[in-house]
């Protein structure tokens, strides 16, 4: 039924300029009252005005249809493992196209290349740029650009010349295609397409290096493709080519590439700067991200420079600063919306690819097309081989043969080539042939290579990625190594990437962050990660917690119980919010749990809002504080843990480990007011020793995975210290202080029972400085201290 409606509706579309309009016999009535007859005009009870809504209606229906197809694929899981989604979508598109063709309909005119380039492509590229893993990207940036620029040049020139050679053979009947046209065509089909490739690669989970190089190459070869395309199409209309044109071409390339990047960075900074001031208008914060990126894209299109590079650099630059400035909701919204739009766009592209395949007029030429396929494949393989040999010495992890195979085989062509083919000027005689050949190449690569790449890669056993856990140790060691390397390099007087990275980070901290971030403070990545992990733990615990706090507080656990708890905890692996997420699961949001995100961001927001500078009513702070404190005291790890409490303003160290999920469940802390009284708060001043974690530690090492380690670490850090809150807090927080003190009184009784038994000798926690307050509490003081 839907199809019939579609058929009927499609008939009224102003069709593509090339094809003739075919009006079907059946038209939905528009029900306009006819004034021809002299009748009494009654008030129309029921009218239908289709043309008015026609275009949006059709767009919506198409999008829905494509989305249904997407839902349909995932119903049967096995398919998506072996057949990448792009193939499936194209197939569905082919089917729909066939249906349409059989009733002699035209495909909707909405699929013009203008629509593709202005509306669909920016969304996909924005998503790729926004979720790009920055660290591996910048480590491999040389390789990426090398492949993108030189590789694409190699491919297009190689294919063009070989095709021209083929054209000379009379047997194929394509002698009328001259060199320029061949080069133009080859420029189109040498563009490796990000959409198709990512779709396939992320399913296969190849190693990070390979992924990032292919990914980067796809995104950035746009610069070269644009230049080549423009240059060759300009040249194709010229009778003679002169060397000066080649030089102009090269100059143009630099303008295109660097100009794109410059625009991107400019818009990125402006966006970051804008979000610095949006604290009062939180609802429209996501808008800025989209508008500025799109603006970057359009302005680049205006000047015919590489818009893809513009939008990618804009997203890269913007992301880091914007995510610090906006609220957690906006952050989630941005990510969600980007993913959604990109997903729709991609689905539609492949879908239409299928549809248009059937409905365009094709000109088939066996020789030309087959040789195109052959050359595309061969030149890519050769290109990868040669280029890798040249660049391997400069890489610290050289590509081995298997990686090279993955690189070569993963060069899928897709929608970009397709759209470019349609924008070929009509002056080219064999345009239809080119279109057909492009479609053939796309279908071939997507279907054959897309489907076979997975088994092949598994067969030859390309190095796979290790989905690392982000842990504090890793972060610390990475930083340590980086600093060591930078130091050694300074010592040897040699510059390498660590040097530049170091320099950039200093510049960043000193200048950029001050300008672009609202409350800027130089934050070490280690500390940031630590906080993030703590918050994650907090959320994890909250998620599974319920039940009676009282039981927990007082009860003493036996060693065996503790072990059980540990086992349970270790099975509850927390997923850390990854900082580099792009290649995990393209169609899933980077964060699985929205609540986690919310709590993390909320605490960041609370923390920020509790700065000395901010002056808001203390009542709301109180409320927030109560929540935090309750959550904070929710879990106690009794016995060994010196239950140290620190009402923190940013209770990152909430995650208290033991929530014996099997025996008592916590209720949401906010709801149980009685729990307040039950929370054993230490009067920190009274305790000198912090025994804390011996029991904890004993059990902790028995767990296999690393979950517990972070959990228990917080308990240790919560070791009671003499707390001197009052003196440290500013006036703003004094009311909060009072509250805390009140809490302290309540809890003192319980404290006595829960004195930790024996100090763990290992933890030199006892020797903490007397000036120690919870470091995280002192956050508000960081700024002044820094100055």
């Amino acid at each position: 039924m839907i199809l019939i409606l579609l058929h009927g509706s499609r008939g009224e579309i102003p069709s593509k300029p090339i094809a003739a309009t075919i009006l079907p016999s059946v038209k939905p009535n528009d029900g306009v009252q006819t004034y021809a007859e002299d009748q009494k005009n009654n008030l129309p009870v029921f009218t239908m005005n289709y043309p008015r809504i026609q275009i949006p209606f059709e767009i919506t229906l198409w999008v829905l249809l494509a989305s249904f197809a997407k839902i349909g694929f995932h119903v049967y899981h096995k398919i998506t493992i072996w057949v990448p989604e792009s193939c499936l979508l194209i197939s569905i598109g082919l089917i729909v196209g066939a249906i349409m063709h059989s009733v002699h309909e035209e495909p909707p005119a909405v699929l013009t290349s203008n629509v593709f380039f202005l509306y669909m492509l920016p969304l996909i590229v924005l998503e790729s740029g926004y979720f790009m893993p920055t660290r591996p990207f910048f480590e491999n940036i040389g390789t990426v650009f090398w492949f993108a620029v030189v590789g694409t040049l190699w491919n297009s020139i190689g294919i063009g010349i070989s095709l021209f050679a083929i054209c000379q053979i009379p047997a194929f009947g394509v002698q009328d295609i001259n060199l320029q046209e061949n080069l133009l065509f080859s420029a189109i089909i040498s563009a490796v397409d990000p959409v198709a490739v990512l779709n396939v690669f992320e399913d296969v989970s190849v190693n990070e290096q390979l992924y990032i190089v292919v990914f980067g190459e796809c995104l950035f070869n746009d610069a070269v493709t644009v230049v080549l395309y423009n240059m060759f199409s300009f040249v194709a209309e010229m009778p003679v080519v002169e060397p000066v044109d080649v030089f102009i071409g090269v100059a143009r390339f630099f303008i295109v590439g660097l100009g794109g990047m410059a625009f991107g960075i400019l818009f990125g900074f402006v966006a970051a700067f804008t979000t610095r001031f949006t604290s009062k208008v939180r609802e429209i914060e996501p808008l800025f991200v989209f508008m500025y990126s799109y603006l970057a894209y359009l302005v680049a299109e205006l000047f015919a420079i590489s818009s893809i590079m513009a939008i990618i650099t804009c997203a890269l630059t913007m992301k880091y600063y914007v995510e610090e400035n906006v609220s957690q909701r906006s952050c989630t919204t941005i990510r969600h919306v980007i993913k959604m739009l990109a997903s729709i766009s991609e689905t539609l592209i492949f879908f239409f690819l299928g549809v248009v395949t059937i409905t365009t007029d094709h000109e088939w030429n066996w020789g030309y097309i087959l040789f195109t396929l052959l050359f595309a494949f061969v030149w890519r393989g050769l290109g990868i081989l040669v280029l890798t040999q040249i660049i391997n010495p400069f890489r610290t992890i050289p590509f081995n043969m298997k990686d090279q195979f993955g690189l070569a085989y993963g060069g899928l062509r897709g929608a970009v080539s397709f759209a470019l083919a349609f924008t070929l000027p009509d002056t080219i005689g064999r345009k239809q042939l080119f279109v057909t050949a492009t479609i053939a190449v796309i279908l071939f690569t997507v279907f054959l290579q897309g489907i076979s790449i997975r088994p092949l890669i598994e067969f030859i056993n390309v190095r796979r990625t290790n989905r690392n856990l982000e842990t504090i140790n890793v972060e610390i060691h990475c930083r340590l190594m980086e600093h060591t390397m930078a130091g050694i390099e300074d010592l040897c007087g040699q510059w390498s990437r660590f040097y530049w990275k170091d320099k950039f980070m200093k510049f960043n901290n000193r200048i950029l962050r001050k300008i672009l971030i609202r409350d800027s403070r130089a934050e070490s990545s280690i500390v940031a990660l630590y906080k993030k992990l703590e918050l994650q733990n907090a959320m994890e615990i909250l998620d599974t917690a319920s039940g009676d706090i009282k039981l927990l507080m007082i009860k003493k656990f036996l060693a065996a119980d503790l072990r059980n708890i540990h086992d349970i905890l270790s099975k509850n692996m927390y997923k850390i919010r990854e900082r580099t997420v792009a290649y995990r699961g393209k169609h899933a949001l980077p964060n699985d749990s929205q609540t986690r995100e919310i709590l993390i961001r909320r605490h960041a927001t609370i923390r920020r809002s509790l700065r000395p500078r901010s002056c808001q009513s203390s009542v709301s702070y109180l409320a927030q504080f109560i929540c935090i404190i309750l959550i904070n005291y929710l879990f106690c790890w009794e016995r060994g843990l010196g239950f140290s409490v620190h009402p923190r303003d940013d209770h990152e160290t909430l995650s208290e480990v033991a929530y014996p999920s099997q025996r008592s469940r916590f209720g949401k802390p906010a709801r149980s007011s009685s729990s307040k009284a039950m929370i054993p708060l230490h009067r920190l001043g009274t305790l000198e020793e912090v025994p804390s974690t011996d029991v904890l530690n004993e059990e902790s090492s028995s767990t296999g995975e690393g979950v517990f380690r972070t959990n228990s670490s917080y308990s240790d850090s919560r070791v009671p210290r003499p707390r001197r809150l009052n003196s440290s807090f500013d006036d703003n927080n004094s009311s909060v202080d009072d509250l805390r003190n009140v809490h302290e009184e309540d809890g003192v009784e319980q404290v006595g029972q829960r004195q930790p038994s024996s100090p763990a000798p290992g933890w030199e926690a006892e020797s903490r400085e007397t000036t120690a307050r919870n470091p995280l509490l002192r956050r508000p003081q960081w700024n002044p201290k820094k100055k």
Partner: protein, 226 residues
């Protein structure tokens, strides 16, 4: 600019060192390093700590002290001594630099493991400041504090908490001693666990230097495949 005669005289010695450490550098690079060494030492035969501390570029490095100490640490000389030297000659300099060699793709698995171990050993020695073969919590804390010291006034408490968290992580993955108090990482047992855990930190890429062609007079950087 450098003492060419002295260099040539000892070249065979240097090459020997290089071979011993699987240090795959070319003679050209040894020469460059020698030039740099001479520049640092003011044309003397040995460098002292002061010479290294005078390097201006190192001033901003948070762990500069540890790096400098590492050069004078006897343990990094591929021998079993402990303690530290007061000054080092070029051979020792080379020995230390050999820890940062990039690994050939043609190296065997065994060589790779050896290389990895050496790099880890270097890192371990950096942590273990009192030369007792054990990293205690305090030492680890010191490291973390140093690392964080540059990024804007972070109090020691944060550093402590972070170090504790990291220690506990190690403890929890340390399957050898389930009931011991994880207050220290000793070289022996944790070496393996660190190896296991850091297997995927690509230590080869992180701890390798590509030696560039360098003229110490002008500090021009050229490209040299290594």
């Amino acid at each position: 600019m450098y003492n060419y005669k002295h260099y040539c005289k000892n070249l065979h010695k240097y090459i020997h060192i290089v071979d011993v450490c699987f240090f795959t550098v070319s003679q050209e690079q040894i020469k460059n390093l020698y030039q740099r060494f001479q520049q640092l030492s003011g044309n003397h035969e040995k460098i002292s700590r002061d010479d290294l501390e005078r390097i201006p570029a190192l001033n901003n490095n948070p762990i500069r002290k540890q790096i400098i100490t590492a050069f004078f640490d006897k343990r990094n000389q591929h021998q079993n001594d402990v303690g530290s030297l007061d000054e080092i000659g070029f051979e020792q300099f080379l020995m230390v630099m050999s820890h940062f060699r990039p690994v050939n793709s043609t190296a065997t698995e065994e060589e790779k493991v050896t290389v990895r171990k050496q790099k880890l050993r270097f890192l371990f020695n950096m942590h273990d400041t009192d030369n007792d073969g054990i990293i205690t919590l305090d030492e680890y804390r010191t490291v973390v504090e140093e690392l964080l010291s540059q990024s804007g006034a972070i109090e020691t408490e944060v550093a402590r908490s972070i170090a504790d968290a990291a220690m506990l992580e190690v403890a929890s993955t340390n399957v050898h001693s389930p009931h011991s108090r994880p207050r220290m990482i000793s070289m022996k047992e944790s070496h393996l666990s660190i190896l296991n855990r850091f297997r995927w930190i690509n230590i080869f890429s992180m701890m390798s230097i590509r030696f560039l062609d360098m003229n110490s007079a002008t500090m021009r950087c050229g490209k040299l495949s290594s």
